[in-house]
């Protein structure tokens, strides 16, 4: 047993919170909602220990707007919720985007629409990748597939948010949020934040030694708003070039690619490993950034593959982005489960075998 590397058993929600603390997040405001309660619970204790601010807000609206204030004052700030609460936060996310304020928002997805249920889901993909609120904007979306990644992506999210002065979403589901699995014992102690860029040039901290300034998203003068929109688009273009993350398995010889993100990607990987043993040439594409979407990687894979199967815990959302990336170059099939159901390996295997038979 002495060879066993020390590991920690921890829930995804708690690992995410600790990753954020390690990134230097010192402001958290949230509101209870299942399945992200372990996150706010962990923060309530840990954030104050770390000398930061924890506020249990009166609503998700208040929470995201407190984050707005904290970000305007230059702090690394975060909030978290699940679908119904994330819908309320869209107001603040839009304002943050308009004001170019950095912030991190975590969505531990549950089944919808409406109150839906509290079981795992991936049905907020559209909301996350299209901006979500009103106006012409985007947010970076990171999709972890393990408890360890949930922690490291929360950590990374703050650097990305600051680098581009953008809202970064960590999008996961109730299963990854609530489940426990081992992470390396040194995971958190190894998290060393990179040197931070100074925010002195734009934050509001009182106008000592400089001209007074404002943070705003209202642009009434002729041409002003379009100018902002164009500026945002240039920023989004840069992010699309530099920040795409994607994992590809069996890139070279796969005839069929299974495409999935988050927890579903693990299931799909497991299927593929088993099918490979049976001599089937199948591969996996796992988008890690859902925005920017790995269009080029998918488009490249198409040149060799005959078809693609997109698997999601929704009735078909990411599949639209895959179809846009693929065009008419190959057939894109879809398999989805919703309402809190997680697709099983058996289900996916059956779909694949059927599709090979041309069903």
């Amino acid at each position: 047993m002495s060879k066993v590397v020390k590991r920690i058993l921890i829930t995804g929600n708690e690992a995410c919170a600790e990753g954020a603390i390690r990134a230097g997040c010192r402001f958290y405001a949230g509101y209870p909602i299942t399945p992200q309660n372990e996150l706010i619970g962990y923060m309530s204790k840990r954030m104050r220990e770390a000398g930061g601010t924890f506020i249990q807000a009166e609503s998700e609206l208040a929470a995201i707007n407190m984050v707005f204030g904290a970000a305007a004052a230059g702090e690394r700030a975060m909030t978290s919720s699940s679908g119904p609460g994330i819908s309320l936060k869209q107001e603040g996310i839009s304002y943050l985007s308009g004001c170019e304020l950095p912030a991190v928002v975590v969505n531990v997805m549950r089944g919808g629409p409406g109150l839906g249920n509290i079981a795992p889901s991936q049905s907020d993909y559209f909301q996350a990748t299209r901006g979500g609120g009103h106006g012409d904007y985007r947010t970076i979306v990171l999709a972890p597939a393990s408890v360890e990644e949930f922690a490291t992506f929360a950590f990374d999210a703050f650097d990305l948010a600051d680098k581009y002065r953008i809202v970064t979403l960590v999008l996961t589901d109730g299963a990854l949020g609530q489940m426990m699995e081992p992470v390396p014992g040194s995971l958190f102690s190894d998290m060393k934040p990179a040197k931070r860029q100074s925010k002195k040039g734009w934050i509001l901290d009182g106008c000592r030694g400089r001209k007074a300034r404002s943070i705003k998203s209202l642009f009434l003068k002729d041409g002003e708003l379009e100018e902002l929109n164009k500026k945002l688009q240039r920023k989004y273009e840069e992010i699309s070039k530099k920040e795409v993350r994607c994992e590809v398995l069996y890139e070279k010889d796969s005839e069929i690619f299974l495409i999935a993100y988050g927890i579903v990607a693990r299931i799909v990987k497991s299927c593929v490993e088993k099918m490979r043993k049976n001599g089937l040439k199948v591969g996996v594409i796992r988008p890690i950034t859902l925005w920017p979407f790995p269009n080029d990687i998918i488009s490249k894979a198409v040149s060799k593959a005959k078809s693609m199967l997109v698997v999601e815990m929704s009735e078909g959302q990411m599949v639209e982005d895959v179809r846009l990336a693929v065009g008419d170059k190959c057939k894109v099939r879809f398999y989805g489960r919703s309402g809190g159901n997680i697709p099983t390996e058996d289900e996916i295997t059956k779909i694949l075998i059927d599709s090979r038979r041309g069903k």
Binding site: V4, L9, E148, M179, M180, P182, S186, L187, E345
Partner: protein
């Protein structure tokens, strides 16, 4: 930031893959039972996942947790057809008995669940966990009696690891709590035919 994931899997002679549902009333320590299985398996170098499932009620309703132990990476943490069920009350017996895989195991708290299983294709282990726990002076350790019996029966995890892992779960409690839980684990182990 790049953190390399350290592989911590100890090579096994034969690969194992065990899915467990532990179920009972909220308040019977079901979550703790599942977590201790997960923690002990992890401490023995196995891959594990643990996930809970609650009803809308907090106390008195049924609660269950799903644990997977494997020598390989685990894809989904949810368990639909368990290899083993650890059942502490009647509603859970009714709900999960039918879902157990053919050839699987059900460990039943026979102090509370009196009926017999109709299934002939699964193995049944009856443990009077509540009675044993009462004799030990605290009904709340019935969960550990159940766990002790399970550990003996399946043999995937050693009772020594479970005992040493107790300390990681009860970090802030005093020694007497750990001692009582330890004793309950041993009693369960003996109830399943282990020598004390």
């Amino acid at each position: 930031m790049a953190i390399k994931r350290k592989k911590a899997i100890v090579k096994e002679k034969t690969a194992i893959h065990e899915s467990i549902i532990a179920a009972g009333f909220g308040g019977q320590g079901i979550m703790l039972l599942g977590k201790l299985i997960g923690l002990s398996a992890m401490n023995e170098g196995k891959e594990v996942t643990w996930i809970s499932s609650y009803g809308a009620e907090v106390r008195g309703g049924t609660a269950h947790s799903m644990v997977i132990i494997s020598s390989l990476p685990i894809s989904s943490p949810t368990v639909k057809e368990p290899d083993t069920c650890i059942i502490m009350n009647v509603p859970s017996f009714i709900k999960f008995e039918k879902k157990i895989k053919k050839g699987g195991l059900i460990v039943v708290n026979s102090s509370i669940v009196k009926g017999n299983s109709k299934r002939k294709d699964i193995e049944i282990l009856k443990v009077p966990a509540t009675d044993v726990a009462k004799k030990l002076g605290n009904v709340r350790v019935a969960n550990m009696v159940m766990l002790g019996a399970y550990l003996k029966k399946r043999g995937f995890i050693s009772i020594e690891t479970a005992i040493s892992s107790l300390k990681e779960i009860f970090t802030s409690k005093d020694e007497t709590v750990i001692e009582l839980n330890k004793l309950a684990l041993k009693k369960g182990w003996e109830a399943a035919g282990g020598r004390g």
